[in-house]
Subunit: 544 residues, 2 copies
Amino acid sequence: MDPTTFETHPSRYHHWKLAIDGDLARLTMAVDDAHPHKPGYELKLNSYDLSVDIELADAIQRIRFEHPEVKCIVFGADLDRVFCSGANIYMLGLSTHSFKVNFCKFTNETRLYLEDASGSSGLASLAACKGTTAGGGYELALACDETMLVDDGNSAVSFPETPLLAVLPGTGGLTRLVDKRKVRRDRADVFCTTAEGIKGKRAKDWGLVDHLVSRTKWDASVTEAAKALAAKQTVVRGPAFVLPPLEGKIAADKLTYRYVELTFDAAARTAALTVRGPDAIEDPDAIAKTGAEPWALRAFRELDDALLRLRFDYPDIGIVAVRTVGDLAIVKACDEALAKSASGFAREVRLLQRRVLKRYDNTARSFYAVADRADSCFAGVLLELALGADRFYMLIDKDEKIAVTTSVANTGFFTTSTNLSRLDARFYGDPARVQKILARGVEGPIPSEEAEQLGIATIAADDIDFEDELRIAIEERASLSPDALTGMEASLRFVGPETLETKIFGRLSAWQNWIFTRANSTGQHGALTLYGQPERPQFQWKRT
Amino acid sequence: MDPTTFETHPSRYHHWKLAIDGDLARLTMAVDDAHPHKPGYELKLNSYDLSVDIELADAIQRIRFEHPEVKCIVFGADLDRVFCSGANIYMLGLSTHSFKVNFCKFTNETRLYLEDASGSSGLASLAACKGTTAGGGYELALACDETMLVDDGNSAVSFPETPLLAVLPGTGGLTRLVDKRKVRRDRADVFCTTAEGIKGKRAKDWGLVDHLVSRTKWDASVTEAAKALAAKQTVVRGPAFVLPPLEGKIAADKLTYRYVELTFDAAARTAALTVRGPDAIEDPDAIAKTGAEPWALRAFRELDDALLRLRFDYPDIGIVAVRTVGDLAIVKACDEALAKSASGFAREVRLLQRRVLKRYDNTARSFYAVADRADSCFAGVLLELALGADRFYMLIDKDEKIAVTTSVANTGFFTTSTNLSRLDARFYGDPARVQKILARGVEGPIPSEEAEQLGIATIAADDIDFEDELRIAIEERASLSPDALTGMEASLRFVGPETLETKIFGRLSAWQNWIFTRANSTGQHGALTLYGQPERPQFQWKRT
């Protein structure tokens, strides 16, 4: 199997055109139907697949880092009567269940990143829909701050998934419709079961779009609305930093980057992830000024790439042991320098770290963090990897070299999808415990035994027991049903309040996973299977 | 097919013993293994199936109405070393997917009713677990206010579902573990993957149980803890009201009760639900004193029974048209009398109405409310049926006899699982609109056209269009994939904040639905299928 490549660059895009126009970035969807992610289907009518979305994710990321002058992204299309017709149905029909689920998860993350850019980075977005805006196309629009629809008597926004394909809009559409845009639920019901969608005045009256504009006034209105969004942004961005290639060494059993290594044991269905800490205390702004990439950025971009490859290319790997190597004090000092910086660049780095940590939380594999060597460095932002893991095993060594360290990175900025910090989620309902741990952390490293007593480590054991206990725990985990573990972890990891984000990953994705397994969509006579063929789907009518 | 009977009475229980002991009710699980809900399995070791849970639901309901002196329910078992071993696995293995899902939903509702009794009715509960407390047995304990476990070196609480059966604890267990009991997520992870469970001091230290008591001190400690819970209750209950039998006439194509009628068109896969309003303004307390049942209670108990029969016995019915017949003003007056009463009985009636309306929200069928006759009476508590429906169609008549009326029942008490009232959910993010509607409602009935303008009706049409429009809408709905509709409705109906309740029905149930369809649990070589047989399950290892 060829590895999936998540790195790209505007100079290599097949499906998008990126143009910087003052404080606007014009991101034009121009899907090349001859360049699908895999052979077997054509990407007609600006429909998308993973390759299109990888470019989209790259473009948003690059605008954040490389184009700090931009304050609004304008999504357009280079087709005259079609904005975007959504995820390619033939691609979905040809895909395995696990690919479909991971594809939806990735596209969901990309859309959430748009909202993150608007909410935290002073980078708004406008969907300029000058034509058909269907399914995933409308979901992209819903993730933008504002949506403009052309009023040409024909162009509609629509969710044809349920009536035509017997599935759900899988990229947050249902949730954003009622929870974000606050479309009335009975109207949302009508909309989601009307294959041809809703156009014109009704689309605006129902709150499905923000602006309705004629073809003649289109270009001027788009620019005007985008400029108005840009003018509202108050967050200071920059300076610019050009993201260098990761240059990972990708082999079937090992991914090697500068700071991150992920090795696979296919027979045992296990993996080992190692994140190396920074070599020296770094001033991120000073380093970036030279064009070099600070550890704080590089290590997390590498981790992101490794997580995506794990998800897509290693579906049989059930459990990952997560280790860190380096110096606790240096990680902590790097966190503090990064937190102290007032530059927009440093903020982007912190926001990227936060997104990568969320990607980790939302990865449907078991993670056991392991601190079993003297140079283990679960400190600050790397401690989040242990707090986000399903379990954290610590070896008790005589010298108490093995320890964890808290830093400013653990005090609230690195929230999970629930908007709780990982410490707050771990001690849900017990905020005094969080304060106690942070206060203790200020005094210095917390060795294994104490970390267990404080509730940071799940299990601390001395070297008589440690190796066997860990080995057996990993073997046992790898022997359990992957489906049950995915559902269990999705329930236990996201304790506390729900948000639009957890609703999308929890509620909506779980229903979609279920629907994707049902004969009515993906069976021999299912609607997704038969799409585009003369044969009509045959449904099993039992409601559950 | 024999219809499922949801009505029972303590004198006919096979599986529970109910004894009133001062301000305690002792509810003892004594499952008769020879009386399963369907032939084909034995209910060994206090395992349960639908018939056991129907009795449990009946017992809780009767304690609320018939035994107002009770302030704490004590759950025990008449086996010496087993409290409850959970849902019967052979029953699950033999059941259809839709039965499994509906069974879990019903058991979830019953456990939520326990928490509702404690939260709103001054009726606490204690799980006295003097022996093995596994799976659904522990989930029942989690729904109680407090849990006592015997410290005998052997008895454990456990969730063996994931390690042994490749499914999830399906009755709210995962959610209650971390969200209600606030067990640390990494400990919850260890607990949920340890088939033999956790006993003794560790169970208490981890927060899995509240009390740990030796066998010698057991009886006294149970009574002491129950008395302490009872002593904390401040809600005044009563007077007692004995729930009379419903005496519904149950035919294959029609369920007929005093106030409720549900007819089925099997060929069209549609149903028609009609709820008749009260015949006269009633003082619920005065009526109840005579031993007669007020409309406010009777009609909703009948509706509850009809909804349960719809769920279990008519799985092919996809859409229900909901009508009301009666007098708007009388419904409103009844609501007001019920709200004004300070008696515990009246509060129980209101709480029952609220639970039944939630059962309606959580029923996985499409509901279209229809006001198309002059004696339609969507007023107050019956208006909630229209607000809870997926759509509301109103006929515009010349005389403006067709109208809706608001009452005190629409002002906040009748919350959905999200803790929002149905009006607040309908106009999520627009509280001023809710106030406007309630202010307008005080002035008198709101006719169809105005109701549409205000956003109460989805569609109002005159008699030229109405009948065709409704007929086509129902036919179209009935033609869509039932699975996609279930997922869509689950996403659109529960707008706004999430609660433990919506997490259970949304997140947890959706994952469980998915897991139930996967080969790893229910396939030929799945763990659930092979439970109790010598053959070991064979898993497909792909993680999604």
